[in-house]
Amino acid sequence: MSNNILEVKGLCKYFGGVKAVDGIDLQIPKNTIQAIIGPNGAGKSTTLNLLSGTYFPTHGSIQFEGKDVTSLSLHQRVHLGVARTFQKIRLFKQLSVLDNVIAGFHIHHHIPLWEYIIPGKAFKKDRLDCQQEALDLLKFVGLEHRAYDRAGSLAYGQQRLLEIARALATRPKLFMLDEPAAGLNDTEVQFLMDRLISLKNKGITIVVVEHNMKLVMNVADQIFVMDHGEYLFDGKPSEIQSNPKVIAAYLGAEIEVAHE
């Protein structure tokens, strides 16, 4: 049995004449952190959308834990243990912070049908458990003190963290994040890095699309580089840094990495 949680073969996504993603092969081992990087327009986000089921591929196959999930939509993959966050913040801004996280327990309720109409013991237990677990998740991202505030009232960085907490409520095995560090300051990035490693230690596999090299270099076990929708290079952080192809793809800009 393969130790890969995700196996991708020949993945392609064409929008009319535009080949956003063209022939990507990918293997993601369990319990690792994989980063997908590349210059703008490389097709990173599209790849994430394909992996999560937000887009359907034009060609290719995706296997999750050995099962073919290529034709499954996003919500169906969530049931299997895939979760994702978005580049653009998509919180339920009118709801409270806590309610946002609780919404994430959608697939995990254990309430018999009739108790939705006439609440009983199982209903109340479920509500309490959800509330507690949601607060724990908020504690994990450092937001438990804002639990009852309107989600829209949070600062940008906090909203990003709330999105993560909400996605974690689905109890994923594979967690995909689309540019989670975008717009965060250094302290926030540091905290994010810390949380990602903590998640990995809890047994979750993580895939990050990122531009922030500090985060990528310090957190990823494996880095997958894309350019113009195609595979460019992959390897460990140390291998990426000095690879001429990668540097060329970023237009010769030096990739500065601050090593701890």
């Binding site: 919500h75 959608h106 108790e115």
Partner: protein, 332 residues
């Protein structure tokens, strides 16, 4: 709507319901012997049911639904025809036509799953127009624009040894009120449960909802189906109430009246549609001097509310309270 359990702790729910039951019991006596006002009361209750069910679809699930009159009509005609032509018992006809309306709601939901916003609004209107046209043109079944006459009220029941006849408007009012309260409790419980969270998620951001495992298509279908079924249920009581059933009672413009009730009362809250239905049914009656100004009143209130107080009367009430208690942060 943040953790309702912790919010409305001013009075436990059963106290509210006791008050409501008391009010329902007493109200008919307030209108004395006036048959006119008794029928207004029944109208109010039916409108409450229609507004609540529309609110489920529009306010909680965020679907732009402008065809609710169609479901009401299906309920009314199905009940009447099942009784008159197929010899069904009233109660069975009521259940059957409610389910039929629900099925038609599910049909409309298939459009809702593919269309968004404006497209859905127009599709739902087209739906209502088509249903109305079917009622008008299917002469053999519905007698077309002439309508169906002499519809009997629900059959008399014996409760605690007393015979209760429903040609008595007061008894009919009690009957319909009981259903309305049951519907309210049903909807309220569902919306406080994870189902309510799911629907709200669909309303706020569908892509986001999908990322939480929510099958948005399924829940839209649920919402339309249940909403339509409740409208159909209200519809079953309508023919016996009016005695004569004509298709024009279910023209598309009536959908706008239910819309007005939901918006003016407060979209996306449980009590909003109830208030809206009561206010908008009573207002034209109180202002009777202007003549047939019912729709004009709706138009004015709807426009003013949506422009200046989109959360409706409920919002107005809340801001009034928060001003009086002068809290610095009001979490909505």
């Amino acid at each position: 709507m943040s953790n309702q359990a912790s919010q409305k702790s001013s009075f436990p729910r059963w106290v509210w319901f006791a008050l409501v039951f008391a009010a329902i019991a007493v109200i008919p006596m307030l209108v004395g012997g006036s048959a006119y006002w008794k029928s207004i009361l029944i109208s109010i209750v039916l409108n409450i049911m229609l507004a609540m069910s529309l609110n489920l679809i529009l306010g909680y699930t965020g679907q732009l639904h402008l065809g609710h009159s169609g479901f009401f009509g299906v309920g009314a005609y199905a009940t009447t025809l099942l009784i008159q032509k197929a010899g069904f018992n009233f109660w069975i006809a009521m259940v059957a036509s409610s389910m039929m309306a629900g099925v038609i709601g599910i049909l409309l939901a298939f459009f809702a799953t593919r269309l968004k916003g404006h497209y859905l609004a127009i599709a739902s209107m087209a739906f209502a127009v088509i249903l109305h046209q079917i009622l008008l043109n299917w002469d053999s079944m519905t007698s077309g624009p002439l309508g169906i006459y002499g519809i009997a009220p629900p059959p008399a029941m014996t409760i605690f040894g007393k015979l209760i006849k429903f040609n008595d408007q007061v008894n009919l009012f009690y009957l319909v009120s009981i259903f309305a309260v049951l519907v309210y409790i049903f909807l309220d419980n569902i919306l406080r449960s994870p189902i309510g969270e799911t629907l709200r998620a669909v309303r706020e951001d569908e892509v986001s909802a999908a990322s939480l495992g929510i099958n948005t298509k399924l829940w839209k279908i649920f919402s339309f189906g249940v909403g339509a079924a409740i409208a159909g249920l209200a519809g079953s009581f309508y023919p016996s109430f009016v005695g004569t059933l004509v298709p024009d009672s279910f023209a598309v413009v009536e959908s706008f009246t239910y819309l007005a009730m939901v918006i003016v009362g407060g979209m996306g809250t449980m009590i909003g549609p109830v208030i809206g239905a009561i206010v908008l049914t009573l207002l034209p009656e109180v202002l009777r001097d202007i003549g047939d100004a019912r729709l004009l009143v709706y138009g004015i209130t709807l426009t003013l509310v949506i422009l200046f107080m989109p959360g409706g009367i409920v919002q107005g009430f809340k801001s009034l309270i928060s001003k009086k208690t002068s809290t610095t942060s009001s979490s909505n």
